[in-house]
């Protein structure tokens, strides 16, 4: 019996981790700046490629993954400085600009690197409960997703940066008037967002085939999670991921991955009809 | 005969009760002013009548039909016409097209163009009719929006602080305009805190204070009401 229960939890954890890891970076950038980073998938791809490249050079996996996340974060800071910064007053244009960037990056990668890169294979290791075998790495991913949420909670609720960042999020003009360097806050937030995207790519790199267009695999999940979750990462994205993971898990188990994805999309479209401001509006209202 | 009946309407925002158990009747053919100090709930009540907020309690009737659940466009189709507080025009469209969009459901062809010309002249916007609405001065945008509201030829004209940002002369002209339309049979409900303007146009007055009806009556009796003077003086002292 407990084996079945654990199996359900395991499936839930697998989907939940995927949703949180792919959406967290996008949600932070959207929550802080109201910008949807269409190149989000390319930062994920960047994280994956750097990880695989470093591992092939002999760097241990975990260190390669951390370095990959940092790389994506630094590139994100540069992209914010060069492009995104100009568009904070024109969110739709920032969407287009980052989409242009996404096209440039994906297609250049196809030109330069080609489509096939030698993968590194999922770290071995599995354990059995009852008659079922489970991959340890999948649980590590779940642990990472929870750690990301915990880390964000600490950064945004417990640090000085977090206080200023939340103030900027609420009212950028006021925060600026009170001396917050909103420009720097935005750079750092964008960097955290793209760094988390890089982390997502780094963590999933061992589990999938590396192609320059792999970012597309993640974007639907990250988009719908942010659409449902709204602007608040902790109060929105996390519950949205729980909710979507339950739907997805149930459908995946009975009908397979693609029906799971379609079902998730349909659920999202139905929810926006009922809750136009996203799930977080309900949670925040209840919280008051 | 009552054209608008607000019955026991309340509106709460979270813990704040902006409008509390308000009854209000606007009779057909009158100019009715809704006054009160800042924060009295005038604008909230206005938005409830217009349909921008659903009330937390109570019902709103227009021409004896319950419209509480109707969206703003449906209320407009019943014969209401609305001018909001801040000028709200189609800024990137020419002035004439703004009027045209308001008129096109009612008139077409040469008749519509004649009515456009008449309204533009009435509002002193004739020379600017090809300009973009966003290029007009603040006062002119207020006029344009009043013109759009009038273009619908409504039974009931709802105006939220129509003279905000206008010079005294413009305010006076607006008052005369409202009176002339009232003389042709249009009912008008105005939210206003410029007392000179209220004196100029009002026939009946309702005073809101802290979300509740504080006093109501014809213009003269309200002007002489000592308690009303007090809440207004209180407001003056606070400044």
């Amino acid at each position: 019996m407990s084996a079945e229960v654990f199996s359900v939890f395991y499936q839930f954890a697998d989907v939940f981790a995927f949703l949180i890891l792919s959406a967290a970076g996008l949600a932070i950038v959207f929550g802080m700046m109201g910008v949807i980073n269409m190149a989000h998938g390319e930062f994920i791809m960047c994280g994956a490629y750097v990880t695989v490249g470093l591992v092939n050079l002999g760097v241990p996996l975990a260190i390669a993954q951390i370095l990959a996340a940092l790389t994506a974060g630094l590139i994100g800071v540069a992209v914010e400085f060069l492009i995104v910064r100009r568009f904070y007053k024109r969110p739709l244009d920032s969407l287009l600009a980052t989409w242009g960037l996404s096209l440039i990056v994906t297609q250049s990668m196809l030109l330069i690197v080609g489509s096939a890169v030698r993968g590194i294979g999922t770290p071995e290791g599995s354990f059995a409960i009852g008659g079922y075998t489970f991959s340890t790495y999948r649980l590590v991913l779940f642990g990472c997703a929870v750690a990301v949420l915990g880390g964000l909670y600490i950064v945004f609720m417990k640090t000085r940066f977090g206080v200023i960042a939340r103030a900027t999020m609420q009212n950028a003009a006021m925060a600026k008037a009170l001396g917050a360097r909103t420009g720097r806050i935005y750079s750092i937030s964008f960097g955290i967002g793209t760094g988390l995207a890089g982390l997502c790519g780094a963590l999933y790199a061992p589990t999938m085939t590396l192609i320059p267009t792999m970012g597309a695999t993640f974007v639907v999940e990250s988009f719908v999670t942010v659409v449902i979750g709204g602007a608040n990462v902790l109060l929105g994205t996390a519950p949205a991921a729980v909710f979507l993971a339950i739907i997805r898990m149930a459908l995946n188990a009975s009908y397979g991955q693609i029906i799971g994805q379609i079902g998730m999309l349909v659920a999202v479209i139905l929810i926006i009809r009922v809750l136009p401001e996203g799930l977080s509006s309900v949670l925040v209202r209840r919280g008051r | 005969m009552a054209l608008v009946e607000v019955k026991g309407v309340s509106k709460r925002f979270g813990g704040l009760t902006a409008v509390s158990d308000v009854d209000l009747t606007v009779n057909a053919g009158e100019v009715h002013c809704l006054i009160g100090p800042n924060g009295a709930g005038k604008s909230t009540l206005f938005k409830l009548i217009v349909g921008l907020y659903p009330p937390s309690q109570g019902s709103i009737l227009f021409d004896t039909v319950d419209i509480t659940a109707e969206r703003p466009y449906a209320r407009v189709q019943r014969g209401m016409s609305i001018k909001m507080q801040a000028p709200s025009v189609f800024k990137e469209l020419p002035v004439r097209q703004n009027i045209q969009i308001a008129l096109q459901e009612r008139l077409s062809g040469a008749e519509r163009i004649a009515e456009e010309d008449r309204l533009l002249t009435l509002l002193n916007l004739g020379p600017d009719s090809d300009k973009l609405a966003g290029a007009l001065s603040h006062g002119q945008q207020q006029w344009l929006e009043i013109g759009m509201a009038l273009a619908l030829k409504p039974q009931l004209l709802l105006l939220d602080e129509p003279t905000a940002g206008m010079s005294p002369e413009e305010t006076f002209k607006t008052g005369e305009l409202i009176k002339s339309f009232n003389a042709e049979g249009m009912t008008v409900l105005v939210v206003e805190h410029d007392m000179a303007f209220v004196r100029q146009v009002a026939q009946r007055v309702t005073v809101l204070h802290l979300g509740k009806i504080f006093a109501r009556g014809d213009l003269e009796s309200i002007l002489q009401d000592a308690k009303v003077a007090e809440i207004y003086l209180g407001k003056t002292h606070a400044h």
Binding site: P91, S102, L103, I272 | I82, F90, I101, E105, L132
Partner: protein, 357 residues
Amino acid sequence: MFKLLEGPQTLGRGKIFWSCFLAVLAGALTYPLFADSYDVGNFAYFLIWIFMALGLCLMWGYGGMLSFGQTLFFGIAGYGYGVLAINMGGGTATIAALALSVVLAMVAAGILGYFMIWGGINGIFFGIVTLSATLVLAFFLGQTAGPEWHIGPARLNGFNGMKGMDPLAVGDFYIEGSALYYVMIALIVIVYLALRMLVNSGIGNVIVATRENPQRAEMLGYDVRKYQLLTFVIGSGLAGLSGALYTSWGQFITPSSIGLPAAAMPIVWVAFSGRSDLTATLVGSFLLLFGFQTITVYSQQAALVLMGALLLATVMLAPQGFVLGIGKLAADWWSGRRPRDDGAVMAEAGRLQSEES
């Protein structure tokens, strides 16, 4: 009714504009007489996509709804045409298949649009919900390689795509080559002029009013949601027309014409051209398609990198669009010589400048 061909919502008016229009049309009509059939076929191929661009221009430039779902409806109608043409047999039935597949795309747009518009989705979220739906359809079709995925005798065939449907035909006469080219030209003229009339009509007035200030439009008694849905259904239906024509043109369609990067292409064409004007979109999209096809012969990736760079450059340098910007310069120069049109051009220029706010 033809008065509506000109109006405040469209650039280009007067004898000179329409003379140019007729000259271009005459050139297009005589082109197959002195070009070889391969080039005519290529030309027809560029024209396929124009409908999709015009549809996006209507939704985005006029209606203020940035849909990233043009290839979603392209795909629905494209696969729809395939399934219907295979199931109903060739010949004149293909005309019905074309019409039905466009209706199918419009019904799908109606359903998706209802949930989004009545749910109050707009701005950025409108884009990402439509894009999510687009990508999910592409992923789904990519998974349909197995023989169990078929509708009647029509196999969906996964990434390799559906094939084997007849092209458009009347009786025994296949509409291909020059014939298809002339059908395209006729359809483009009809769609272009019809859209001009639509946006300059009373409905068009409400569509732009809703873009400018939805609350004010509602306060004038318009149920703006219905106008938005109408705009979305027409714009998406035009993408559907492109899709059905595409399948008929090449007798195949694959999921790659739905997913990324295909979904970005209409955005690039319309943004680069100038979304706020139909004529600019028509001209600009054609030029971009021509350029894209020329480069694709050497390297598709390079062509796509260029498209991405153009999108980025447009947003950074000319947010209103390059073709429109050049058109405006030309109009300013012209009105400088002929003050008669001054007011109209100024109104136009002002409208475009302040659009962003």
